[in-house]
């Protein structure tokens, strides 16, 4: 007994690693009496981060983990502890403001999450307990509970389907809220379970929770009295995921296996890596520079202070004796506190409010993307979606665009174009002349029908009708069907069907996860073979002769991107067992008898060059023995708990051999709207477009030509399996040779490229396009020898970087990410953008700096993992050229301006130290120190950074080249940063010394009275506020009423505040320093004059620069109406009939 328990413990300890055991309905089986129910988490979904109790400490902790906030906290603490020149309020208040605003925002978001959590957690569910149905709250569900779910309800946790109200033991599910796929998916009950759940005694063994939505392996042991326990395999088809909805099925019963945070849905919401934009990196670099400036300022002041104090009489003049405590303090401690005091005095140079402003700018700015009505697509009735606002400006910095082909460049709206049976081409024509839909377009005349023999034709069409996973959309009642038809993704039969065969049902649609399959089934229907649907495990088809044929579906060998084919094994009425297989030519040809290949290969290649998607169809008869063997192998592999995938793959490969090729199909995938224009614009903007596709080279190449990625004069450099095999030598050698040759051509012989001008424009003659396929790529990346590998990679990269477009075909999803990563990490670390619509693009979307999802037809996985999602490819142009450009300019200006305005804010304070005995006397009043960044100068820059359009959107869209002006982080490089810093220094010096010379005689009033030090500070501060605001006004090219309001409003507010602040004896202030200082200042004509003089003098160089710079370089960012007019005039002078 003890040993058994011990064993179980040990056993379970082992098992805990990779699997879990669950008792269905908590009924422990008889031979399991010592079973201790393992502890699983409850079914509460907790997406919220905080509770009422831990909100404050936890949120504060998280906020102070940010380096900037921590810095300000330290400054604040220094101010509290050490006797510093400014009161703790000056840095405490802004910090408090920042922390509070952030806390409120995060608290609100968390409250929303709490609300959403509660809604889910309190949702009533039905649990079957000892035969009774008990209503419970969703959060009370435990692993092992048997639940009942009704139609249109969502599943409260991950369930294994035990029982369905449908006869065929299936249920339908949509996973729209999980991955956006709105088609109905079929799930199956565990085969041969008891109908009576009451008496079901079973345990389930399954893997530990993992986030992959499409993977699940498990095993169910069913214990029956006096019988050996039966074992059933469980797969994803038995698993109902939390978050998906039951459809077309009245009720189901299922047992909970993963609950709460362990459900696949919850696991999927975790851990999306944070992308950081290049601008953020620039900010951090600048911050470091300013930190150095700050520290060196403090060091200089501290040193000079002690040098100065060494002179006799300076340290402690009789009028300013030290306290006893000061005298007693250790010299080095004094030095240290002095250093800290200087740090505190100058700490405003690092702007506390910049982070808030940047974040607000990003958050609010991203709304303009969602609001843009140009991104609204009337077809799907959705606009753009912003998943992260952190990368807005990155959209203006893209250098490499990686695009998927299917669904991105093309519409993924498949249409059956033609097929080829046994080497004969069949092209469908709409004309009603030929009832069968077959007619000849080329080849020898008048083999009108049955070119390939009726036998072959029908076999081919049957294969099309059987070899798929398409479902017929059911429409039990017409009305309901109508509604569903509109809501879901359905390809109605509509017009094309009617002319040929009256469809058996008025309303019918096919549902499939891949539109290719629907196109094929519909194609078959045109030729007279209609797929009628499933009847439990039987497929029904309507033949040309209006007979209904039934086939028993034995096995589906699912499609996967590695095998690139799928098969079905069916048994016909006559008892023949057939395997139908369809897939990419490359994966079919090696598996069929070679003599058949040639005739069809020609057709396939011709179709591919025309840009069609081709599939080959093959079949084979399985005799009883073969079938038995295959059946056993498949069943065994399906039951495996470990390495099920690999085992299945092996069996699949084994079964799918020795087939005979029947024919091929060609399906057209039309280009997206304005795909070519968009690509052209992107190239014009200096971006390199790489097409990464899983498709065949020929198909992809023709798409590239259609998209004008390759032009007629583009010289194509091909590095594919075909070119490698040309020489008849070892592939490795040939690869080396080709790489060197191409490198010579594209890199070495190319004329040196001027910076900023890429070759698409400068040298149209030397336009190169590069083509590589997956197999070759993996050879390049994983070459046998280490040294070669990096060398090849380098060569490859250099070639690619010198080509206008690169086409990578036959890519596996992971290879796509590999390429993105390689380019991302190459020299100069260019900014990459990936755009795609399907699950196979997710890896590259996640890998690239910016990931864009297209709200296409292949589900919503790409959209979910993207940073931005747009409905159509054509929207990319505006997203990058207009929005991205503007965002970048805005935020770059924001960052530079912030550093600038704080530099010229604090520089006079630093200079003042030289005139006040290095005593840390602040130049400005505490109120000004505090309010400068929060109130006086924050709003104009925020408004600017949200509304500025230095070039209007239309011009940006029309002149893609403008995008290059800001490439490579152009506005945030050290040059511009240096310029702004210089400007800040210039202004700071001007402010301070201008007023300094004015104060050579402090009798500035006409009544002979003199001004003191606060007047001095106030004059400097007034000049400062006006200058930095007007500097921004000077930079503003787009004055909306909001800009006017905040700029003039800020200045008015400053004046008003100064009057107010100086107009009252404030009871809470210890010192009434500013009492009437401002008003007195304004009563002095000299003060007015010096303020006007200094403002104008500060802005003078700026104005000159604007005027002088404009007519020169084309990148001055000044191309506006004049520029356009000029080009128009230019055209006119060439006698071109162009009117503007």
């Amino acid at each position: 007994m003890l040993r058994r328990t011990l064993n179980r413990w040990l056993g379970r300890d082992e098992r805990r690693v990779d699997s879990r055991s669950i008792c269905v309905g908590h009924r422990s089986s008889s031979n399991n009496e010592a079973f201790i129910p393992p502890k699983f988490c409850d079914n509460r979904i907790v997406s919220s981060k905080y509770t009422v109790w831990n909100f404050l400490p936890k949120n504060l902790f998280e906020q102070f983990r940010r380096i900037a906030n921590f810095y300000f906290l330290i400054i604040f603490l220094v101010q509290v502890i050490v006797d510093t020149p400014t009161s703790p309020v000056t840095s405490g208040l802004p910090l408090f403001f920042v922390i509070t605003v952030t806390a409120i925002k995060q608290g609100y978001e968390d409250w929303l999450r709490h609300k959403a959590d509660n809604e889910v957690n309190k949702y009533p569910v039905t649990v079957l307990e000892q035969g009774r149905r008990v209503r419970k709250e969703s959060e009370k569900i435990k692993v092992g509970d048997v639940l009942e779910v009704d139609e249109d309800e969502t599943f409260p946790c991950d369930l294994i389907l035990l029982q369905s109200s449908r006869d065929d033991d299936t249920c339908f599910v949509t996973t729209a809220s999980l991955d956006g796929e709105s088609n109905h998916k079929t799930h199956y009950t565990v085969p041969d379970t008891e109908k009576d759940l009451e008496s079901l005694n079973a345990t389930i063994e399954c893997e530990q929770p993992q986030p992959d939505l499409y993977k699940f392996v498990g095993r169910m042991h069913i214990y029956k009295a006096d019988q050996e326990p039966a074992v059933r395999s469980l797969g994803p088809e038995n698993l109902l995921l939390k978050g998906s909805t039951l459809k077309n099925t009245q009720t189901i019963c299922g047992v909970a296996i993963y609950t709460g945070m362990e459900t696949k849905m919850a696991l999927n919401y975790q851990g999306k890596s944070q992308k950081r934009s290049a601008v953020e990196k620039s900010i951090n670099a600048f911050l470091l520079v300013y930190l150095c400036i700050l520290v060196s300022k403090a060091l200089v002041c501290t040193t000079l202070k002690y040098v100065w104090q060494n002179k006799p009489g300076q340290d402690e003049p009789w009028y300013n004796e030290k306290t006893q405590r000061e005298k007693d303090t250790n010299l080095y401690l004094k030095m240290f506190t002095d250093f800290l005091s200087f740090m505190v005095l100058f700490n405003f140079i690092i702007p506390v409010s910049m982070y808030v402003t940047v974040e607000m700018q990003k958050f609010l700015g991203s709304f303009f993307i969602t609001w843009d009505k140009d991104f609204f697509d009337p077809e799907i009735k959705e606009g753009a979606l912003v998943n992260t606002s952190d990368l807005n400006e990155e959209l203006g910095q893209v250098e490499y665009v990686f695009t998927d082909k299917t669904g991105t460049l093309t519409q993924n709206n498949m249409e059956f174009i033609e097929c080829c049976i046994d080497g004969f081409q069949y092209k469908y024509q709409d004309a009603g002349t030929d009832l069968d839909g077959f007619c000849v377009t080329d080849g020898p005349a008048n083999k009108v029908q049955h070119k390939a023999g009726r036998e072959k034709e029908e076999l081919f069409l049957r294969a099309l009708c059987l070899c798929h996973t398409v479902q017929v959309k059911e429409s039990p009642e017409q009305g309901q069907g109508q509604r569903d038809g509109l809501m879901d993704q359905v390809d109605g039969l509509g017009v094309d069907g009617k002319g040929l065969h009256p469809p058996p049902q008025e309303q019918r649609g096919f549902i499939a996860s891949s539109p290719d399959e629907v196109a094929l089934v519909k194609g078959a229907m045109r030729y007279g073979f209609t797929f009628l649907g499933f009847e439990s495990k039987t497929m029904k088809i309507l033949t040309r002769d209006n007979d209904v044929e039934r086939y028993e579906l034995l096995h589906v060998l699912n499609f996967d991107p590695v095998r690139r084919r799928m098969s079905v094994i069916v048994r016909s009425k006559s008892g023949d067992t057939l395997l139908f297989c369809k897939g990419a030519d490359s994966s079919i040809f090696p598996r069929v008898r070679q003599e058949e290949v040639e005739r069809i290969r020609m057709n396939v290649e011709r179709n591919a060059t025309e840009g069609y998607r081709t599939l080959c169809v093959a079949y084979k008869y399985l005799n009883a023995e073969e079938y038995a063997q295959a059946d056993a192998g498949l069943r065994e592999a399906r039951l495996a708990l470990q390495d099920r995938e690999e085992k299945l793959m092996a069996v699949y490969n084994q079964v799918e051999t020795g087939m005979s090729l029947i024919g091929a199909t060609a399906v057209e995938d039309r280009l997206q709207e304005e795909a070519a224009e968009t690509m052209e614009a992107l190239q014009g903007a200096g971006m390199k477009v790489w097409v990464l596709t899983g498709d065949k080279m020929e198909t992809a190449k023709s798409t590239c030509y259609a998209c004008r990625l390759f032009q007629r004069n583009t010289e194509l450099l091909e590095l594919t399996v075909r070119t490698l095999e040309d020489g008849g030598r070892r592939r490795e050698e040939r690869l080396h040779e080709l790489l060197v040759e191409y490198h010579k051509k594209a890199v070495q012989d190319a004329p040196p490229v001027k910076a900023g001008v890429t070759r698409a424009w400068s040298s149209a003659n030397h336009d190169y396009g590069f083509i590589i396929d997956g197999a070759t790529l993996s050879m390049v990346l994983n070459s046998s020898s280490e040294s070669n590998s990096s060398r090849y990679k380098n060569l490859f990269l250099q070639i690619c970087q010198n080509c206008t477009s690169v086409l990578c075909c036959r890519m596996a999803p992971l290879q796509k990410a590999q390429i993105v990563k390689m380019v991302k990490n190459s020299k100069g670390s260019p900014i990459t953008l990936s755009i795609g619509d399907g699950a196979n693009d997710v890896s590259m979307i996640l890998e690239a700096h910016v990931g864009i999802g297209i709200k296409g037809k292949e589900g919503r996985q790409a959209v979910r993992n993207s940073d931005y999602a747009i409905p159509k490819l054509k929207h990319l142009k505006k997203l990058l050229l207009a929005h991205g450009h503007l965002y970048y300019v805005r935020i770059a200006h924001l960052v530079q301006y912030f550093f600038y305005k704080n530099l010229c804010f604090i520089l006079p304070q630093f200079l003042y130290q030289f005139f006040c005995g290095y005593s840390q006397q602040p130049l400005y009043d505490a109120a000004y120190l505090t309010m400068y960044n929060i109130c006086f100068t924050s709003m104009p820059i925020l408004a600017y950074s949200l509304l500025e359009q230095h070039i209007c959107m239309e011009v940006l869209l029309d002149n893609a080249t403008l995008y290059r002006g800001i490439a490579k982080n152009g506005m945030l490089r050290w040059g511009p940063f240096f310029y702004w810093t210089l400007l800040g220094v210039f202004h700071g010096l001007l402010f301070f010394f201008g007023v300094r010379y004015l104060f050579g005689n402090p009798a500035l009033q006409d009544n002979g009275q003199v001004f003191g030090n606060w007047s001095y500070g106030t004059i400097v501060f007034t000049v400062l506020v006006f200058t930095v605001t007007l500097k921004l006004a000077l930079d503003t090219r787009h004055w909306t009423w909001i800009n006017h309001f905040v700029i003039w409003g800020s200045l008015a507010f400053y004046v008003f505040f100064s009057f107010f602040w100086g107009g009252i004896i404030w009871p809470f202030l210890k010192q009434q320093r500013l009492y009437f200082v401002f008003a007195n200042m304004l009563s002095s004509v000299s003060a007015w004059l010096v303020i006007i003089l200094l403002i104008l003098l500060s802005l003078l160089p700026e104005i000159l620069l604007v005027v002088f710079r404009k007519p020169r370089g084309p990148h001055a960012g000044q191309l506006s109406q004049e520029g356009l007019l000029q080009t128009a005039r230019l055209h006119l002078s060439h006698h071109l009939p162009i009117s503007t």
Binding site: G917, S919, L998, D1006
Partner: protein, 339 residues
């Protein structure tokens, strides 16, 4: 129905704001605006500059250092710190009428009234007449808050303690006889300081308010004896005190001492010889300081200040020069805006 609702819910608002199409003014700093603008601004600045310069030139300033460091200085005998109650006579002459009203300043140099500890060393509550603060001065006044017997000092703090205490009497020498020039001590401090910010405690007589307090260590007399002749100029609202309490911005500064506005001197100081009797009390040698007296008249722009006029002239000329340069550049390169 369903479709419409969904469409409406998702369709972005078509407003000018959301579409970033707010009507906007797009100013262009083209040469056509900038060049005339520069010329105008330049001319205006030159005009102002000339006015300032001429005005500044017309202001007469008479500055006399009386620190007494140099041996030939009249106050040399007083420069020794050991000499108490020293009085020295400064004789000077004015060649032509010193136009009035004449303002009489004293000036100190290398004196850091803007030293941080010094600047903070005052108690504004005391100075606004708050009797509670009389008995318990703010600790910012330290070490000038209590004397050695732990009696509170009123007014406390380094600023008050170090109040300038040289006094001056001006005589006009007429035929060898000294004729007193009346000096007006009113209106030398800010109106708001005198009337609002600084208040004596409302105790009569004022002396009683200062019971149990001591005068600042450096002061010869307590605050209620600053001007015994005029109760409106006594205590905390003594204008000399107010002037001193408004700390200077820079270590070389001057402060208004008296105005010469009375009677025959309202038009100014006539040419002739003058004698200034100085009660030399304020020590500055220990920190290399200098003391001086300044006579000056003022204009609409205040005291004499050449800097402002010159700066305006320079900036104005710069503007004009720039506009000429721009004109040349533009003419040479024929920019499209100019056609």
């Amino acid at each position: 129905m369903v479709k419409d609702e969904k469409e409406i819910a998702n369709r972005p608002d078509n407003t000018a704001f959301t579409q970033q199409r707010l009507p906007a003014w797009q100013p262009m700093l083209s040469a056509g605006i900038v060049i005339p603008g520069f010329v105008l601004i330049g001319l205006a600045f030159i005009g102002i500059g000339v006015a300032l310069f001429v005005t500044s030139r017309s202001i007469t300033v008479l500055e006399i250092d009386y620190t007494g460091i140099e041996k030939d200085s009249a106050c040399f005998k007083c420069s020794n710190a050991d000499v108490k109650n020293c009085v020295c006579n400064l004789v000077f002459s004015i060649d032509s009428l010193f136009e009035g009203p004449v303002f009489f300043y004293y000036g100190l140099s290398n004196y850091f009234q803007n030293y941080r500890k010094y600047a903070a060393s005052r108690d504004d509550e005391q100075l606004s007449g708050d009797l509670d603060a009389f008995t318990a001065p703010s600790d910012r006044c330290s070490p000038y808050d209590y004397n050695s017997n732990d009696k509170p000092i009123v007014p406390c703090g380094a600023i008050a303690n170090s109040m300038f205490n040289d006094t001056f009497v001006l005589y006009r020498v007429v035929n060898g006889a000294n004729k007193l020039v009346p000096l007006d001590g009113k209106g030398i401090a800010w109106w708001t300081d005198y009337n609002v910010k600084f208040r004596n405690p409302s105790v009569t007589p004022l002396k009683n308010a200062f019971n149990n307090t001591v005068k600042p260590i450096f002061w010869p007399n307590p605050a209620y004896q600053l001007d015994t002749s005029d109760p409106a100029n006594n205590g905390f609202i003594n204008q000399d005190f107010l002037v001193w309490m408004r700390r200077a911005a820079l270590p070389d500064f001057r402060k208004l001492y008296r105005r010469i506005t009375d009677g025959e001197y309202a038009k100014g100081l006539p040419a002739g010889n003058y004698s200034l009797t100085i009660a030399y009390n304020y020590p500055v040698q220990s920190f290399d300081g200098r003391k001086k007296v300044v006579f000056s008249n003022v204009s609409w722009m205040g005291g004499k200040n050449e800097f402002l006029g010159i700066a305006y002239l320079v900036v104005g000329s710069l503007c004009v020069l720039m506009s000429i340069v721009m004109l040349i550049v533009y003419a040479k390169f024929k920019f499209p805006e100019e056609d």
